[in-house]
Symmetry: C2
Subunit: 332 residues, 2 copies
């Protein structure tokens, strides 16, 4: 490792559109401020919000970098004032609100985490976004408890594969939906008790059957559209529905009488605009509850494919195609 | 007080329709079973669900009496096996899933409560339904905290007047909506910081103005219809909307993107079908947290009018008319 250069390569979207709008440009290497660390990135995860941002549908929150990328792994190469936990050379993974598709990035040390034993740098770069998202939505917001049933849509997405493993590890029954027989097999291989091919079966009927008519206690949904009233229908009494995206639209007619009579809780959240302090709270909970599971190999990021940094457009095309199972990662 | 008779007078709806379908009939006096007390009723509260039941829109839950009435006050006149708390002659108020419009009723002793000092029997008969409803929905389900803002629709209803007082007593800012200037005055007299006449002002704009654009942290809604998207609009970041009825319909188109981006929680509940054990849990919380406030006069049921038992049809006509402010009670 040589000295820290002044300039680095980074990916932005020039205009909006398909993977062809992605450009690798030169940017100054950022300097760590109060409480921040500078990381030389080794792997950067590709996530659905990156695709939405590229398509022009998801502007970075105020103050965030316009460089794509919400998570990475790498080594600390410099620290700002009042950094207490991580030193130069420490391997870390981190969640950021932008700037991950680059050779270097800064992050507040509270939003970085050590890399558990047994995880490669590529795997570590694929962890933060989905693990933070699943923890805060399924376990904190959705309050999933041992013995309950989780229904997770998009079971083979990065979010889905993480939700299946964590829910199983914490003693829940897991039902996943996916769009092909192969994807359904991937879900059950990861620990899902039931996988429903939504192209061939009505997930409402399938979940009711699998739960003796009770329904699902927690539903993690990124589909929206007509899934919203169907989620209300398939939720158990006192069920919680957590909305994290709307791949099929967010505007829909619902009869809220069912929500009242079944005492449902419909909520949702997005991770990116949350404050450093809020993300630090999620990081602490993950390190306490989930990092031991990663270290023991009881859960791990499901890796779909790795692309060279120069092939970032190919990585996005892979996600656009929807054939992937698990995480897509850029290698630097 | 003489011996307990075999038969009693009680009110049922013969068919469904206006107040004229109410009939005072003869019924056997019920006998207290395991853990139950028999109460000679002195006052019975009239509630909106009684009107809905009379209109044919709200059948009693399985196992509940077809005699109208969800709350009453009176004196214990007999006890079943394994009753530990209340003895014959004890004055009590109670929440029931039916049977309140009658000379006698049975209730599990865990769903009865002592009458705080300073409350008349008529006032006591007007307490349970609204206090149980407000406690479980605003404080338990909605998690209203000191310093937060509650928006309560229907501020002069039994529920509304109770919610205004309790929210103020627990340190929240309260904004109420009501349909006339007099009703708005009644809301502020009870402690509401702001009252919005919904016929003259848009409550969304009024609440935003009153909260410097923040919105309401908890919204208690019994209106539904187009109030649902407007509640989503006026809710603060991390706001909770609790739905307890739908006076204007429950089917509506909503853009759930706002729910996700603001991390709202939309939930709701009904009290009547809940188990004796669940109602007992609410009763314990009320006795601990709210009964001292009633005893100190820091809150009390707002009494609209009292009708003789024989005038039950007039009492319902008063509620149908919508002119009332606070509770309507039958006196036995």
């Amino acid at each position: 490792m040589g000295p820290i250069p002044d300039m680095m390569r980074a990916v932005v979207a020039e205009g909006s559109g398909g993977p062809e709008v992605l450009r690798i440009i030169e940017r100054p290497v950022p300097r760590p401020g109060e409480g921040e660390i500078l990381v030389r990135i080794e792997a950067a995860g590709v996530n659905r919000p990156d695709v939405l941002q590229r398509q022009g549908g998801y502007a970075p929150p105020p103050g965030a970098s316009d460089v794509l990328g919400l998570e990475f792994s790498g080594e600390v190469v410099a620290t700002g004032p009042n950094v207490h936990r991580f030193r130069v050379d420490a391997p870390v993974m981190a969640l950021v609100s932008g700037g991950g598709y680059a050779e270097y990035a800064i992050v507040h040390e509270s939003n970085a985490l050590p890399i558990p034993a047994g995880l490669s740098m590529e795997e570590a770069g694929a962890v933060p976004e989905t693990f933070f998202t699943v923890w805060t939505n399924v376990f904190e917001r959705g309050r999933l408890r041992r013995g309950e049933t989780l229904l997770v849509h998009g079971g083979t997405s990065g979010i889905g594969t993480t939700a299946i493993q964590l829910a199983r590890a914490f003693g829940a029954t897991v039902i996943a939906t996916a769009g092909t027989a192969d994807k359904c097999d991937a879900c059950t291989d990861l620990g899902a008790d039931v996988a429903v091919n939504y192209r061939e079966a009505d997930f409402v009927a399938a979940v009711k059957e699998a739960t003796d008519g009770r329904g699902a206690d927690v539903i993690l949904d990124m589909v929206g559209g007509d899934y919203i009233p169907r989620n209300h229908e398939v939720a158990a009494q006192d069920g919680r529905i957590v909305q994290i995206a709307f791949l099929q639209g967010s505007k829909v007619e619902v009869d809220f009488r069912r929500l009242m009579l079944k005492r449902l809780t419909h909520t949702g959240s997005t991770l990116r605009p949350r404050s450093v302090a809020e993300k630090a709270g999620i990081a602490r909970a993950l390190e306490e509850k989930v990092w031991p599971l990663l270290a023991q190999g009881r859960c791990k990021p499901v890796m779909d494919s790795t692309f060279d940094f120069d092939d970032v457009a190919k990585a996005h095309a892979r996600m656009d195609g929807g054939e992937h199972i698990g995480k897509i990662v850029l290698r630097l």
